[in-house]
């Protein structure tokens, strides 16, 4: 049963859930919403499973019309959303009445908004997930990895909570937060020159426009790896790899499963959630953190849901 009709979309508007797991040894990437934190809050607002399929809208250009009365939730970036011309701020559930149009215009704060529906949007499970990976032709509305397109119909099976909710201000992620991004130090850290280690954690990095769901390039002082060439090995989410040109690349959800560039380490999930909301040209800093501390912080954060 169709509940919403897509009136406008872009190749950057994708159905996503927490990602595809248990198949990475077959070369299948992880996928999933880049800002897992905002995605989880969108689902939380509706009482959904935190991993239920949502729509990830990057930068805007998306619009839906309700075919019947709906209750939806919006979290993440402020992409200038409005309902029939009235501004709709994120971090809340809201009613969209039959015939009303929800539209996303342009990024005002952050880069990615998450739209959730009761019980999650319907889509076939492909290799255990609904996440859209265009390159691998997996997931999405038809299971073939296509981005959401104008004319497509969206449905969901859950029933809405009676009460509309708003996320308390103190729980909302601060997208203007300029504190450094935490990076768990990896095994090759000692193979970079001393000067490069200093630069990695003391200089300002600029997000390149060469950025997609596979990775984001950081522009700044070139880093020098002095170790032996590496044999390809598994790549974790958030790995910060340094190719021969010395410009680090943060590897994201749609990264290749194995690779042979040396790594500084990997950003923490909380750092990745923040990075996913940064636009090209944004300035970031990195801060080393040990695995145990990062783990405790993550477990602590997850208790909020």
């Amino acid at each position: 049963m169709s509940r919403l009709s897509i009136e406008a979309s872009t190749p950057l508007c994708l159905l996503q859930d927490a990602g595809r797991f248990g198949v990475r040894h077959l070369g299948v990437t992880q996928g999933g919403g880049l800002d897992w934190r905002s995605m989880s809050w969108a689902n939380w607002l509706l009482g959904n499973d935190l991993h239920a399929p949502v729509i990830e809208i990057t930068l805007g250009g998306f619009a839906v019309v309700a075919e019947e009365d709906c209750v939806l939730a919006l979290a993440g970036a402020d992409l200038g959303a409005c309902v029939n011309g009235e501004t709709l701020a994120p971090w809340r559930s809201f009613r969209l009445q039959k015939g009303q149009r929800l539209q996303f215009t342009q990024p005002l704060l952050g880069a990615r908004a998450y739209l959730a529906a009761p019980g999650g949007f319907d889509a076939p499970s492909v290799l255990g997930s609904r996440s859209t990976v265009v390159r691998e032709e997996l997931g999405g509305l038809d299971g073939r990895g296509r981005a959401l397109a104008k004319g497509a119909q969206l449905s969901y099976a859950g029933s809405a909570l009676l009460l509309l909710r708003e996320l308390p201000a103190e729980q909302r992620p601060d997208f203007s937060d300029a504190s450094p991004l935490d990076l768990v130090l990896g095994a090759q850290i000692g193979e970079f020159s001393g000067q490069s280690l200093f630069d990695a954690f003391n200089s300002v990095w600029t997000l390149d426009s060469r950025a997609d769901r596979m990775g984001i390039r950081l522009l700044g002082t070139a880093l020098q790896y002095q170790g032996k060439p590496m044999i390809s090995e598994g790549i974790p989410l958030g790995a910060v790899q340094v190719p021969p040109d010395g410009q680090p690349i943060v590897l994201l959800n749609d990264r290749q499963t194995i690779g042979g560039y040396p790594r500084l380490g990997a950003l923490t999930p909380l750092a990745l959630a923040r990075l996913a909301q940064c636009l090209p040209g944004a300035k970031v800093r990195l801060r080393p953190v040990v695995q145990e501390v990062a783990h405790r912080e993550q477990v602590e954060y997850l208790k909020r849901f």
Partner: protein
């Protein structure tokens, strides 16, 4: 073998077993894989094997890094190589032809061998699947004879046909789906390498062995192969 466990991310540890790529690694890699899967059970999110390493991604809600290290240590005590022929042996039919494998002539020139001899040598050997990566079902296999080894193309092709069989250095592989690629192409297989309807999805799994079998154009077509030349696909 000197075993090391390294930090790679908040919820991932790298088990490093070897420093060099070798066919002799495989029985150990398979045994370690099996033990790690058993030790972590449902708390294992993914285990990513590569040539010399196994990356363990575990459930951070259940395990802290120290507990994960402890599980790894226990899993790998008294590790003995898995010499059972656990992996499957696949025979992949290949139509070796210049129209779908343009680098046959390059490999022939480099090696000083006739094209027929290049084909004979590539198909006359049993290869191991070292790892899957690059794309779903893309199996890195080796090792091809030294004389057939060739570096990747300077400029990767924007589009390589599904089923294309190639060589890069001493490795060989077949592309499961159309993708960009820089390997030296020598032929095409009609085999479906990745199929979401198949149990296990990927035809080849790490630890399997593979032999390529030269087939005629007629057989290739009979087996469902697509003989569209590379240039015509662009």
């Amino acid at each position: 073998m000197k075993l090391r466990v390294e930090v790679v991310a908040l919820d991932c540890l790298m088990v490093r077993l070897f420093d060099e790529i070798s066919e002799a690694n495989m029985p150990w890699m398979l045994a370690a894989s099996e033990n790690l899967r058993a030790a972590f059970g449902e708390h294992l999110i993914d285990l990513v094997p590569s040539y010399t390493t196994l990356m363990v991604h575990y459930d951070l809600i259940v395990l802290n890094p120290a507990q994960a290290r402890e599980l790894i240590a226990q899993a790998l005590i008294d590790l003995s190589p898995n010499t059972r022929t656990g992996g499957q042996c696949h025979v992949l039919p290949v139509w070796y032809d210049l129209s779908v494998g343009p680098e046959l002539s390059l490999l022939s020139q480099r090696s000083g061998l006739a094209v027929e001899e290049v084909i004979r040598r590539h198909s006359g050997r049993e290869y191991q699947v070292f790892a899957l990566g690059f794309a779903p079902g893309f199996a890195f296999m080796g090792l091809v004879e030294e004389v057939l080894a060739a570096p990747r193309l300077n400029t990767p092709r924007k589009k390589v046909a599904a089923g294309s069989v190639g060589i890069a250095e001493r490795q060989t592989a077949a592309y499961p789906v159309v993708s960009p690629g820089g390997w030296n192409l020598i032929g095409r297989t009609p085999a479906k390498l990745f199929d979401r309807e198949r149990d296990g999805y990927s035809l080849m799994q790490p630890g399997d062995t593979v032999r390529f079998e030269a087939v005629s154009h007629a057989e290739f077509i009979h087996l469902g192969g697509d003989d569209t030349p590379l240039e015509a696909q662009v």
